[in-house]
Symmetry: C2
């Protein structure tokens, strides 16, 4: 139990913020946790769960906070900053949990008052569920949190934030914004867009009824539907704000897909077999790195007979 | 414990056959189970596991069997049939577990002797692991097994096979081969091709090193890698033999992907948000149908701290 910040304010109280609050409590990392959410309903739920001290305005929530974390969709950050900028305490650290970093820096930086340390961050963790009820204290355990210091970021502020994330359970790493956005386009943004697309196609198909797609989903499709059940607002903002990198990776994806499609059309079994053999190795690496389970089917609870 | 077939022969001893053997033993569904695999190594492992009575030739394994199940990749079925056709017992049922049905019927039917009942089937279950050691008795519990009777299939033979699959733990359904191949192109084949492609793209990217892709895979990518770790030979054969339906669904997928790509490029947030909202509903349906778990992240075992 080492207090890292005296007072932490969470702006936005969804899956990430509520999990942060629970993990900070578990580790005794903050003396006081305050919070704010735009919707009355979310604030009511957070109060009912006793997640933190909930305020009806963001400016009140950040009053006197040593760390303020923006946990709202990327597209909402500028508006939030216009509200809270003037209320931030000199010497405080301002961070965020946005899935893209270049756009967040562009949106937030202009509102950061002199004397406040802006240290963007991105914890690589989440589930397909949204809202304050979906949070849990172990969400970040053994996951990565990427810290993206901006030009002239105060080293002490960066290191204190890294300590917080380590206390929350995560491993930390530093990266610049451009590289972050490209890496995430590969490991997260493009896979999400593809999953959304495939689920949309299945939904559209009129010759194959909905109930058949659902009934027979265990054949592989259901893994895609988990990803495609993620929060629509958050993901809309991700694609609108990481446009360049996502379009680049999508271009490469389409190119590869066309080459495999051609191999299917021309009956080039060797090309297919070689490709499918190569992709097996990556899975092994991910399991060895402790980023997934080797249990068959992700160790899903077996369905009841 | 109701014996459904006196003697069952499994040709091919991979994940599906070994799971069938274990499930048949669990339910006491067969008096004798025999088996054959092409590779000496697989036969040795099957003997070591005491999976069934293992023979060194397929013809010996099917001798006197009441049910013979072809559990080899689709592309290998014709060659196997040339071997075992003459050894099949009159009155026996011949089935398979292939992931495509039209091509299997075309490959197998010419070798089926008069008096043998050919009833193709496809259990929709599997994991990313292959080989006899990966089998487990509960693999088919609450999954679907699609029975694809051919023209003139004997009703009694069809119903007996359905009883076996129900005893193994599966729900059964009947479908014609064309419809089966289209449904599976949507729920299984195209998702697999897409997952293979995305994992291949990540592997190729030189600016983002392998270790970064692996390190940060928990952001969504690792779900794709599970699917893309499936058996290369099996999947090569699936795409080569369900060419038409896969190419059709791939065409639709590309069309949708291009429309979402365009929305990203033009900044059409409403289109993206609407699309992402629609896809959430399918997930709910799959969970309500008992085909997946509602636990966050598939209920993956939390990573150790």
């Amino acid at each position: 139990m080492t207090v890292i910040y005296n007072k932490v304010a969470l702006i936005g109280l969804g899956l990430i913020a509520s999990s942060m609050a629970l993990a900070m409590k578990r580790g005794g990392l903050a003396t006081t946790i305050t919070g704010y959410a735009r919707s009355q309903e979310t604030r009511d739920i957070a109060r009912e769960l006793n997640l933190c001290e909930v305020f009806d305005t963001a400016a009140e929530a950040v009053q006197d906070a040593d760390l303020v974390v923006l946990c709202v969709p990327v597209g909402a950050m500028a508006a939030v900053m216009a509200d809270i900028g003037p209320a931030l305490k000199p010497g405080a650290t301002l961070s965020d949990v946005g899935s893209v970093k270049k756009a967040v820096i562009e949106a937030v930086a202009p509102f950061v008052p002199e004397g406040v340390h802006f240290v963007p961050a991105h914890p690589l963790a989440g589930t397909e569920h949204s809202g304050p009820r979906s949070g849990f204290a172990t969400l970040f355990d053994n996951r990565w949190c990427i810290i993206v210091p901006t030009e002239g970021s105060d080293r002490a502020a960066v290191e204190q934030l890294e300590k917080l994330w380590q206390g929350i359970g995560a491993n930390t790493d530093e990266m610049d914004a451009d590289h972050h956005d490209l890496v995430l386009a590969v490991t997260s943004h493009t896979p999400h867009l593809i999953a959304y697309t495939m689920v949309g196609v299945a939904d559209d198909l009129s010759r194959v009824t909905d109930s058949e797609v659902i009934k027979y989903s265990a054949a592989g499709f259901r893994d895609f539907t988990r990803i495609a059940a993620s929060d629509p607002t958050m993901w809309r903002d991700v694609f609108l704000t990481n446009k360049e990198a996502t379009l680049e990776i999508l271009g490469r994806f389409t190119e590869e897909l066309f080459s495999l499609q051609r191999a299917i059309r021309t009956g080039d079994g060797e090309h297919l077999h070689d490709y499918f053999t190569r992709t097996r190795a990556i899975r092994r690496g991910i399991i060895d790195a402790g980023q997934d389970t080797d249990a068959p089917d992700f160790g899903r609870t077996p369905a009841p007979r």
